[in-house]
């Protein structure tokens, strides 16, 4: 505390016009995601549902594909004995054909999931 008291400045009224203020208008939904509003939760739930549906479709296709061979061999016992180029048909399916099929499915999945994410980004980042 200094001893030489300065005269306190007289009060001034502070005002501002709204002219320079940030306009209140539409805002990108990504803020809702961030702030976890009800709207943000809807966006997130939509994204997760789309992705999960795609994932379960791939899993389902895989299960069906795997089960096909045992079912076929049970229903048509002769199929197990069929040979292609001297190699029994079940060996070709389980030893060779599975791998390119899995690879193709994986590629398709990556493509489709990237599409979902691109759509999502477009929706939440629009002004």
């Amino acid at each position: 505390m200094s001893t030489d008291q300065q005269t306190t400045p007289s009060r001034v009224r502070v005002t501002s016009s709204r002219r320079g203020a940030v306009p209140v208008g539409p805002r990108p939904p990504v803020r809702d995601l961030d702030e976890q509003t009800a709207l943000g939760d809807v966006y997130l739930a939509g994204l997760m549902r789309a992705q999960l549906r795609l994932s379960l479709a791939v899993v389902g296709l895989t299960v069906v594909g795997l089960a096909a061979l045992p079912v076929l061999v049970t229903l048509v016992p002769d199929a197990a004995g069929t040979t292609v180029a001297g190699i029994p048909f079940p060996w070709l399916v389980l030893g060779v054909a599975v791998y390119p099929a899995a690879w193709g499915l994986a590629r398709w999945y990556v493509h489709a999931s990237q599409r979902i994410e691109a759509d999502f980004s477009e929706v939440v980042e629009e002004q």
Binding site: A80, Y99, A102, Y109
Partner: protein, 510 residues
């Protein structure tokens, strides 16, 4: 059999591992270098590294041995190993990378905010890692004994020392290079002899393999026990879901630059694995040509290493055996380094670093704790591998998959996709899945396969233990809605939002 050439191949593979690992020493500076290679590994390099790490003794030697013994039904194993990555890709790959965690326990803690779940996960990581390391050491002993006549303990010891040195030297950064190199070493070492042997077999008038009855028939009773359909389905479920729960597999996902990179990596991994798994059945069938009956005292696991000596004579046979022995060692080394890496990470974080910091008042460099942990991580499973009777390489590896499938798979999948997972639910799922699997497999190991339905259910628990763990987690979560972590939505936003969208990513390291 004593081949100086095979010995040279094994030494060469070990030296390569150490030299390439040493390169990483110069590049590793920060903690994130040690754990996740600075998160800058490109999808191609990472895919080779994942392939190199994943193809273990079980794939290199075990699958061919099982195909030799039991025929077509054993092809489900490599199919399951590969499809595990497809399941991982569609359910967890990108969210896992986006979680930004270093290890599985990190993920559990970030998602659920619970120290207790973290501790149980850490315990499981170490248990699964050690269970998977044991057959690698046993395979190394088997290989070295077969090709050089060294006593059984030497092979495991060599692998242990090389792995501890490589992991301790540069952590994840050096291991990534080591493993990427080793995938191609393994593929070459299995493919070149396969084509050479097929050529020799063709020139010898391509004699038909002598096969036991039902060798060609899918789901026959020729396999290890009755109820083949149940056993096969259970094995495939264990492999498909277990892959994502293996600690050394998931830790690799954290090294991708982003979620999209994680997905691309996985697609390449599936291609690399598929390429590799075309080969073991060739050895199984050639084994049937060479040995109509398994000679006394020969383990079917060693069939791959024995075929060249029977089909080719003199120097060419020695050369082919040497290639296979070198490739097999690459398999033990790379898988063991990946496992040792994740076990080391957990031991360091949970056990050593806090204690070391207390002893030294925080003076010890954090890298030192990591290096002590690397030693601990490999010595214990090595000792276990010396006292337990080998079960068959692919069988022991199967136990680790079953345990991972019944514990981590429900935790990760529910954690990524289900907002209502509660702390108590996650914990109950882990405990129920883990305890039931360990009890079932323990009974089978102690008493042998009981036969009938009881034997099938206990020897292959995945098909009932996984749904049980799943159901427990869901029911307990629904019963304890107040234990759903408050941070759930924030974490899920982070797990699922693509990187391009600018949301806050709290706690994202590096």
């Amino acid at each position: 059999m004593s081949h100086p050439l095979s010995l040279a191949a094994v030494v060469l593979v070990c030296l390569t591992t150490l030299v390439v690992g040493g390169l990483g020493l110069r590049l590793s500076r920060r903690t994130s270098d040690f754990y996740v290679a600075g998160r800058t590994v490109s999808p191609r390099l990472n895919a080779s590294a994942i392939g190199g790490e994943y193809l273990s003794a079980a794939s290199f030697l075990g699958v061919a041995g099982l195909v030799y013994g039991s025929g077509i039904d054993m092809l489900w194993l490599p199919v399951g190993y590969t499809l595990g990555y497809l399941v991982l890709l569609v359910l967890v790959a990108a969210p896992m990378r986006r979680s930004g965690a270093y290890t599985l326990p990190d993920f559990a803690e970030a998602r659920l905010g619970s120290r207790a779940v973290r501790l149980v996960s850490s315990f499981l990581v170490v248990a699964i890692g050690w269970l998977y390391l044991v057959p690698q050491f046993q395979g190394a002993g088997l290989t070295l004994t077969l090709v050089t006549g060294a006593p059984g303990w030497v092979g495991g010891l060599v692998v242990m020392v090389v792995v501890a040195a490589a992991v301790g030297a540069g952590g994840m950064r050096s291991i990534t290079f080591v493993q990427a190199v080793q995938y191609w070493v393994k593929l070459t070492a299995l493919a070149v002899p396969a084509f050479a042997l097929l050529f020799l077999w063709f020139r010898a008038g391509h004699p038909a393999p002598t096969v036991p009855p039902d060798w060609h028939a899918p789901l026959s009773t020729n396999g290890p026990g009755d109820h083949p359909a149940y056993r096969t389905a259970s094995t495939v479920v264990a492999l498909c879901l277990g892959t994502m729960g293996l600690p050394h597999v998931l830790v690799r996902y954290y090294t991708n630059p982003d979620g999209v990179g994680a997905r691309r990596t996985t697609v390449t991994v599936i291609a690399l694995l598929g390429l590799f798994y075309l080969l073991p059945p060739v050895y199984g069938a050639l084994g049937r040509v060479v040995y109509p009956v398994l000679p006394d005292g020969v383990r079917s696991d060693s069939i791959v290493l024995r075929i060249p000596g029977e089909l080719a004579d003199g120097l060419s046979g020695d050369l082919l055996t040497a290639m296979l022995a070198g490739g097999a060692f690459a398999a033990f080394l790379s898988t063991a380094s990946g496992l040792a890496m994740s076990v080391t990470g957990v031991l360091d974080q949970e056990v050593l670093r806090p204690r070391l910091a207390r002893f030294t008042g925080g003076d010890a460099p954090s890298v030192r704790g990591f290096r002590y942990a690397a030693v601990v991580a490999v010595v214990l499973p090595y000792l276990v591998s010396r006292v337990t009777e080998p079960l068959g390489l692919a069988t022991t590896v199967g136990l680790a998959f079953a345990l991972a499938a019944a514990t981590f798979a429900p935790l990760i999948i529910l954690g990524v996709w289900w907002p209502r997972l509660s702390v108590a639910g996650a914990m109950a799922g882990l405990v129920v899945g883990g305890v039931s699997t360990v009890l079932a497999l323990g009974t089978t190991m102690a008493r042998g396969d009981l036969g009938g339905w009881a034997g099938a259910l206990l020897a292959n628990p995945a098909l009932w233990a996984v749904p049980l763990a799943w159901l427990t987690a869901v029911v307990v979560s629904l019963a304890t809605p107040r234990q759903v972590p408050a941070s759930t939505t924030r974490v899920l936003v982070r797990l699922h939002t693509p990187e391009g969208v600018a949301v806050a990513r709290p706690g994202l390291r590096d």
